[in-house]
């Protein structure tokens, strides 16, 4: 059986990669990808900790919720990025600096 620590290490690595991606990439879609990575790291932790809840599998249920929420969030975010691209002609978050028209 794989010990819990490994899951946590993999989750931390995923989260760190996601964080780096979010902060360092110059492409909004890749920033979104980074967010997905961080969400997945969290989900991995939920799933990993759910071994301590063998009766209700609350962790796994929450993981499913989180996946659905992430999918919805990505759909919304992509729509925002698409609109932002239409407006700014760029997907670089550095260029998207003001909210007004």
């Amino acid at each position: 059986m794989i010990p819990l620590t490994h899951f946590l290490i993999v989750g931390a690595c995923l989260f760190a990669i996601g964080l780096y991606t979010v902060m360092a990439r110059r492409n909004a879609i890749l920033v979104l990808v980074g967010i997905e990575l961080m969400i997945n790291a969290a989900i991995l932790n939920l799933v990993a900790f759910s071994r301590y809840d063998k009766t209700a599998y609350g962790g796994q249920a929450f993981a499913l919720f989180a996946i659905v929420l992430a999918a919805a969030a990505v759909a919304v975010a992509l729509a925002i990025i698409l609109n932002a691209y239409k407006f700014y002609k760029s997907v670089n978050p550095e260029d998207i600096r003001n909210l007004k028209d």
């Binding site: 964080l19 979010v22 902060m23 360092a24 920033v31 978050p93 550095e94 998207i96 600096r97 003001n98």
Partner: protein
């Protein structure tokens, strides 16, 4: 008892008083447009008519006394009122009758003066004040008018205020009059504190309410007031200097308005004076009459001679008051008013012509100095006639008003002296001597001015002196007529026929008559006058007794007894020195204290300013700088970059986590 019912004579008297005041206001309001004097002259003309009507209605009738409530202090009500008795209406007519010819004369005399509109304004004020004085029924109102008379004369004496001498003269007149005003004020205060009222009627009906020493003090105080106003020795010094005013003003001051006020006051409140005060009055009057006549002997300024003659005649009037015969004093005041006014108007005409000659021929001379004149009889015959009549009246020649009043005065003084003991018996003899001196100095003036030859011709041959213009001659001839006897008495030689004295005589003022004197004295004085006139003629016209000037008595007379020098040394210079000392004290001690305080205040303020700038403001600025710095720091966070926000967020969460870890461990 005072009434409040208005009657026609009363209204006439009130309008006689108030018309010149209206003239004053109107002239003042019109300013330069009133320059021809029509307003002032018509005001005084109407005033004269009203006064004549009031006179005709009131003379020898019961006096009219009207009072209105004026103001109340505490329990004590003060009234403003008018008392019209024989004395008041006589003065009312006299003042306006003298003022009218002076107004007409002034229109010609002052013609072309740049400040003539001021002249008319002051003249109206002057007449109003004097007319108000004579009808006032209480001392307070009288005092107000008294002060107004003084103030108006101050303005008129200093009319040519660009001349330093005129400014000095009006200052002197004002200051000397202040001394007298203090006397009047003290008298008023004593009257009020003992009688509880200032009504003259109350005062003269019951003067004995004042306890014995205070009655004498009050009498002396009132006399001090009259001494300054009526130029009695030794407070007469302002009057000769007052000659700096226009000559027409001098004639008014000397005849009816200013100097008459003192004599009138004494006559008005006559019952107040007890025997001591009366003796003082008689003595001062005698000294004044003698000293002034003596000073007049050697003067060279024509107006100064006349000024001293006025002082001398006022001395006569004071003697009249002092011997208890105030009707005689007022009668002499009336006759003197006409001939003295005339003398001044003639002098004015002469000065006018001399000034004219001086300007046309560009001479360097004093137009008032009688040494520059001479022989004017041929050039100004009408003026000569007028001044001759006036001079004879002054000298007390028969057929003139002056003869009647002056001889009446001297006769009554003899009668009075018969009842006295000691040195008072000398008074009538001194008066006879004074009337000799009077004849001498006035004939000296006539001789020097009108006889001989014109002195300034020796400088320039073609100088021509003309007769005065008709508008000046008219008033002069009118006054000349008034100076003769018919105005006063049907009998030119006997003063018991004088209607004016008969109207004024009251039971308190009679003396046991000495019949013989009524014949002897006029004969004596007239004879003496003739002799003195002869001496003066020999002396000045024929040059028989060449004047040996420079003797002690000559110098004493010429320098007016060195009184001015004495006052200068005894009063003026100590006062000036005291004021310099006080100035020093004020400058260095009082101001020094104030300046020290202000310096202290300034240094406190400097410390406070430093504290304020450095500490209080510094604190405020520090807070501002902190806010600014914080803002500057946090401004960088709000840069709009999404990823920076992420990084910041992450960093903050990291810090919170680290904090928890550290705290939990």
């Amino acid at each position: 008892m005072p009434t409040t019912a208005l009657t026609y004579p009363l209204l006439a008297a009130l309008s006689a008083v108030l018309l010149p005041f209206a003239g004053f206001l109107l002239s003042a309001a019109l300013g330069k447009r009133a320059g021809n004097g029509a307003v002032a002259t018509s005001a005084i003309l109407l005033s004269l008519l009203a006064a004549c009507y009031a006179f005709a209605q009131i003379w020898n009738q019961p006096p009219i006394h009207i009072q209105w409530h004026w103001f109340t202090i505490g329990e004590q009500a003060f009234h403003v009122g008018v008392l019209l008795d024989n004395m008041a209406v006589m003065m009312l007519v006299l003042v306006s009758l003298i003022a009218l010819p002076v107004h007409i004369y002034s229109a010609a005399y002052m013609k072309g003066d740049p400040g003539i509109h001021r002249y008319w304004t002051y003249l109206s004020l002057f007449c109003f004040a004097m007319l108000g004085l004579v009808v006032a029924d209480n001392l307070l109102l009288m005092y107000i008018c008294w002060e107004l008379v003084g103030f108006a004369s101050y303005l008129l004496i200093g009319f040519w205020f660009t001349k330093d001498a005129a400014v000095q003269a009006n200052k002197k007149a004002f200051i000397v009059n202040r001394i007298g005003d203090i006397g009047f004020l003290i008298g008023m205060a004593l009257t009020y504190s003992h009688l509880g009222t200032l009504d003259t009627t109350a005062l003269i009906e019951a003067p004995e309410i004042l306890p014995a020493p205070w009655l004498t003090v009050a009498g002396l105080a009132f006399f001090l007031g009259a001494m300054a106003k009526s130029a009695q020795f030794p407070l007469h010094v302002w009057l000769p200097d007052a000659m700096e005013g226009p000559t027409s003003v001098s004639s008014l001051i000397h005849a009816a308005t200013m100097v008459a006020a003192g004599v009138f006051l004494l006559a008005r409140i006559f019952p107040v004076f007890d025997a001591t005060v009366l003796l003082v009055i008689a003595t001062i009057g005698t000294v004044t009459a003698f000293a002034a006549a003596y000073f007049a002997l050697t003067q060279y300024d024509i107006k100064k001679i006349l000024a001293f003659s006025t002082i001398s005649q006022l001395g006569f009037m004071m003697v009249g008051i002092g011997i208890g015969m105030y009707p005689v004093a007022l009668f002499h005041l009336a006759t003197h008013a006409f001939f003295k006014c005339l003398l001044f108007l003639c002098a004015g005409a002469i000065i006018h012509e001399m000034q004219h000659a001086k300007e046309t021929h560009d001479l360097d001379m004093d137009p008032q100095d009688i040494r520059n004149m001479g022989g004017l009889r041929k050039h100004m015959p009408l003026t000569f006639t007028a001044i001759l009549i006036a001079s004879l009246a002054l000298a007390g020649f028969p057929f003139t008003g002056g003869y009647l009043s002056k001889d009446a005065l001297i006769v009554h003084t003899f009668e009075w002296a018969a009842l006295q003991s000691g040195a008072a018996k000398l008074i009538p003899y001194v008066l006879v001597a004074v009337s000799m001196l009077t004849s001498f100095y006035i004939l000296r003036l006539l001789a020097k001015v009108f006889f001989g030859s014109l002195s300034i011709r020796s400088v320039k041959k073609d100088i021509r002196i003309h007769e005065a213009p008709m508008r000046m001659l008219g008033p002069m001839l009118f006054l000349a007529g008034c100076s003769l006897f018919p105005l006063f008495s049907v009998n030119p030689l006997n003063d018991s026929y004088v209607w004016l004295m008969q109207g004024l005589t009251s039971p308190v003022s009679t003396l046991p008559p000495l019949r013989l004197l009524h014949l002897a004295i006029p004969v004596l004085t007239t004879g003496v006058t003739c002799i003195v006139a002869g001496v003066a003629w020999q002396w000045y016209v024929n040059g028989k007794y060449p004047l040996k000037g420079g003797g002690l008595f000559y110098r004493l007379s010429e320098h007016q007894g060195y009184l001015d020098a004495l006052y200068d040394a005894a009063v003026v210079r100590p006062v000036v020195r005291l004021s310099q000392l006080l100035l020093w004290v004020d400058h260095y001690i009082i101001d020094g204290m104030v300046n020290g305080l202000s310096a202290l205040g300034r240094s406190f303020a400097a410390v406070a300013a430093w504290l304020d700038q450095r500490l209080v403001d510094g604190f405020v600025r520090l807070i501002g700088k902190i806010a600014w710095g914080l803002g500057n720091v946090f401004r960088r966070l709000q840069n709009g970059r999404l990823q920076h926000y992420f990084a910041t967020l992450f960093f903050i969460i990291l810090v919170i986590l680290l904090y928890h870890i550290v705290v939990l461990l």
